[in-house]
C-alpha cells in the first residue's frame, strides 16, 4: 500500500488534464453569465473577462420587454410541459402493451415501430406531408409528432420485463383490467425509467429548434431557441429599438446587441441549469438501461 499513497507524475498530469477540460466545459456558461450582470458598457467593450464588474440585473428585466420574447418563453414552456407529459404517458403505456406476449401481432408491430429509428424519408417529403396534415404554423407540430418515440418505448419495455410478472398476475386474478393493472401496478414500478424519459424529453423539447425553422413562420409560435438564433442576425436593430424607449435608464446599462444576445442565452440555459443537478443521477441510470439493450 506504500505505492498507492504516493503522488506520481501521472496523478499530477491527470488532475491537471481534468481540471482544464472541466473548466473549458464550464467557463462559457460562467463567462456569459458575468457579462449579463456587468455594466453593459464595459461588457460591450470586452472588459468583463474573468469576474463581473459593476453588477446590475437590469438586463433580465429589460429583455422581457422585447416584443415577442415573453410569448416565445410561453411557447417554449408550453411545448416542454405538454409535450413531455404526453410523451411520458405514451411511452409508459406502449412499453407496457409491448411487454405483453399476448398482443396480436406484437412482434410485427414492435418492428414496425423500431424500424423508424433507422430510416427517414428526408426533409422535403417530410415537410410536404406535414403541410398536408396541417402541421405548418400549428402549435400541435411541436407536440404530436414526438409523442411516440421508439427509443423511449424500448427503455420502458425492457424495464417492465424486468419487473416481477407475479404482481400483474395477482392483480389480474383479483379482476383488474389492463388499464387498472397499468395505472395501479405497473406505473408505480416503472417511475424511475419514466422520470428518466421525462427529463430527456423535456430537455429535447426545450432545446428543439429545427421544427420551428422548418414548420413555423407565425411569430406567435416562435420558441426561445429560434428567437435566440434570429438575434445573431438582427440583434443590433433590436438594441436601437430598446434604447429609444429606455431613455431614463442608466447610460452604462443600456441594452446592446451583445447584452441582448447574452441575456437571452442565459434565459434559455437557466432552466436547464436549475433542473440538471437534481436529475443527473437519473441520466446515468437511464443511459445504462439503454446500454443493456445495446
Amino acid at each position: 500500500m506504500r505505492i498507492n499513497n504516493r503522488i506520481t507524475i501521472f496523478d499530477i498530469f491527470n488532475y491537471t488534464l481534468f481540471a482544464l477540460f472541466t473548466s473549458a466545459c464550464f467557463f462559457p456558461f460562467y463567462y456569459l453569465f458575468i457579462n449579463t450582470i456587468s455594466s453593459n458598457d464595459l461588457s460591450s467593450r470586452g472588459l468583463v473577462m474573468f469576474y463581473p464588474k459593476e453588477i446590475h440585473f437590469d438586463n433580465y428585466i429589460q429583455v422581457f420587454k422585447i416584443p415577442g420574447l415573453g410569448q416565445a418563453t410561453l411557447v417554449s414552456f408550453a411545448r416542454t410541459l405538454i409535450g413531455t407529459a404526453l410523451t411520458v404517458a405514451a411511452s409508459g403505456f406502449l412499453g407496457y402493451l409491448f411487454s405483453k406476449p399476448t398482443m396480436w401481432g406484437r412482434k410485427f408491430w414492435y418492428r414496425f415501430l423500431i424500424a423508424t429509428m433507422y430510416f427517414n424519408a428526408g426533409l422535403i417529403p417530410w415537410f410536404l406531408i406535414m403541410l398536408k396534415l396541417g402541421f405548418v404554423n400549428n402549435f400541435l407540430a411541436y407536440i404530436v409528432p414526438g409523442i411516440v418515440s421508439p427509443f423511449f418505448i424500448i427503455l420502458v419495455k425492457t424495464f417492465v420485463e424486468s419487473t416481477p410478472i407475479s404482481l400483474q398476475e395477482s392483480a389480474q386474478l383479483d379482476g383488474a383490467g389492463n388499464m387498472t393493472i397499468f395505472w395501479k401496478i405497473v406505473m408505480p414500478l416503472i417511475t424511475p425509467i419514466l422520470a428518466t424519459i421525462a427529463i430527456f424529453s423535456a430537455i429535447g423539447q426545450w432545446n428543439s429548434f429545427q421544427d420551428t425553422l422548418f414548420l413555423v413562420t407565425d411569430q406567435n409560435l416562435f420558441t426561445l431557441q429560434f428567437i435566440l438564433y434570429r438575434y445573431f442576425n438582427g440583434a443590433t436593430s433590436l438594441a436601437t429599438l430598446l434604447q429609444s424607449g429606455a431613455s431614463d435608464t442608466n447610460l452604462a446599462n443600456i441594452q446592446t446587441a451583445t447584452s441582448i444576445r447574452t441575456t437571452v442565452s442565459m434565459v434559455v440555459v437557466i432552466p436547464i441549469l436549475l433542473v440538471y443537478p437534481f436529475f443527473q443521477r437519473f441520466f446515468v441510470k437511464g443511459i445504462m438501461i439503454g446500454a443493456v439493450k445495446g
Binding site: 491527470n14 488534464l17 466545459c25 470586452g46 399476448t102 424519408a121 389480474q172 444576445r261 443527473q280
Partner: protein, 328 residues
C-alpha cells in the same frame, strides 16, 4: 408467438380451475389479444403518419415540382433529378464536395470516439470522489444544451469584435489585430469536430464509466498479485473490460456515418465557411428549402437513405462477425 397463452392467464386457470373452462379461457385470450392491439393502435397510426407516410413523398423526386402547384399539374420527369447528379459536371462537383465534407467530419468524429474511453479510464484513476463528481457533473452539462446555445457561446468567446479570446490575446500582447475564427474557412472540419468533442465527451464517457465499474474487482486483485503496476492494470484489465462497449458504439457510429446531422452545421455556417461545412443534411436544406428545388433535394434524400440503410446492414454484419450478435 401470439397464440401462446399469457403467463398470467395460465396461472389463473390453474388456481381457479373450477371457474374457468378451457373454452372460456380461449375465448378470453382471443378477446384479450385484440384488445391489447386496439389500445396500441392510435399510437401506431401516429407512427405511420409521421414516419411511413412521408416515404410516399419520394414521388416528388420524379416530378418537376414547384411549391403551390399541385402534383397533378406537374411534369413527370422520371429519373432526371438522379441523372443530373452524374451527367451535369457542375452538379457532380457540388455533390462530391458535400460528400467530402460529410465523410471528413464523420471520419474525424469516429477518430475522436476513443476520447471518451480515455476520459473514463483516466477519471477512474482519480482518487478524490468530490473531484470526480465535479468533473462528471460539469463535463456532461454541455450535452444538454442546444447547438444554438453552443453557437452563442462560440460567438461570445471567439467573435472578431470583443470576443473573449481576441481580448485575451491582445491584452497579453500576443496579437495585434483580432482573429476572425468563426468566419474563416481554415480548419472548418477540425473546429466542427472539436465543438462536437466539447459537447459530447463527458456524456460519452458515462457508458464507459459504467462498464469499468462493472469489471470484477478480483481481476484487478489477480493482476496485482501477478505484479502488475498501475498502467499494466489499465492496459490489461480495464481496456479489455470496456472494449465490447467501444465496439458496439463504433459499429453504430459506422451505421450513422452519412447522417452527421443538421443543426450544428446550420448554426455554424456562414458565407465564408460554407464550402467546407456543407454536409449532406445541410445541402438538402439549402437546395430544397432555400432554393426551392424540391425534386432534386428529394432525389438526394433518397440516395442518402439508401446508402444509410446499406451502411446499417454492413455495420450489422460487421457486428455479427466481431461480437457474434447484431446491433439491430
Amino acid at each position: 408467438m401470439s397464440n401462446q397463452p399469457g403467463r398470467g392467464n395460465d396461472m389463473g386457470a390453474k388456481l381457479n380451475g373450477q371457474a374457468y373452462t378451457t373454452a372460456a379461457m380461449k375465448q378470453f385470450q382471443f378477446k384479450e389479444k385484440y384488445k391489447l392491439f386496439l389500445m396500441a393502435l392510435p399510437f401506431l397510426v401516429l407512427v405511420f403518419l409521421f414516419s411511413y407516410l412521408p416515404l410516399y413523398g419520394w414521388i416528388y423526386a420524379f416530378f418537376d415540382y414547384r411549391p403551390a402547384i399541385p402534383l397533378s399539374k406537374t411534369e413527370f420527369v422520371g429519373f432526371q433529378w438522379f441523372t443530373t447528379l452524374v451527367s451535369n459536371k457542375y452538379q457532380m462537383e457540388e455533390v462530391l464536395r458535400v460528400l467530402r465534407n460529410t465523410f471528413a467530419i464523420s471520419s474525424l468524429g469516429l477518430l475522436t470516439s476513443v476520447l471518451p474511453v480515455i476520459f473514463a479510464i483516466f477519471l477512474m484513476e482519480i482518487k478524490s470522489t468530490r473531484f470526480k463528481k465535479t468533473v462528471q457533473t460539469l463535463t456532461t452539462l454541455p450535452n444538454f444544451i442546444s447547438w444554438v446555445l453552443v453557437y452563442s457561446f462560440a460567438f461570445m468567446l471567439f467573435s472578431v469584435d470583443n470576443g473573449f479570446l481576441n481580448n485575451l490575446l491582445i491584452n497579453m500582447g500576443l496579437i495585434e489585430r483580432p482573429l476572425n475564427i468563426l468566419a474563416s474557412d481554415n480548419h472548418t472540419w477540425l473546429s466542427m469536430t472539436l465543438w462536437g468533442v466539447w459537447k459530447g465527451l463527458g456524456w460519452g464517457a458515462i457508458l464507459y464509466i459504467a462498464a469499468i465499474t462493472g469489471i470484477d474487482p478480483e481481476m484487478y486483485e489477480a493482476a496485482r498479485v501477478d505484479g502488475a503496476g498501475r498502467f499494466r492494470l489499465m492496459w490489461h484489465v480495464t481496456v479489455p473490460g470496456v472494449m465490447p462497449t467501444f465496439f458496439v458504439l463504433l459499429i453504430l457510429g459506422i451505421a450513422g456515418f452519412i447522417n452527421n446531422g443538421f443543426e450544428q452545421y446550420f448554426v455554424f455556417s456562414n458565407a465564408i465557411n460554407m464550402n467546407n461545412i456543407e454536409v449532406l443534411d445541410l445541402y438538402v436544406y439549402n437546395v430544397g428549402v432555400v432554393n426551392n428545388n424540391f425534386g432534386f433535394a428529394t432525389a438526394v434524400s433518397i440516395l442518402k437513405s439508401i446508402v444509410s440503410l446499406i451502411l446499417l446492414f454492413a455495420a450489422n454484419s460487421l457486428s455479427k462477425l466481431v461480437r457474434g450478435e447484431g446491433v439491430i
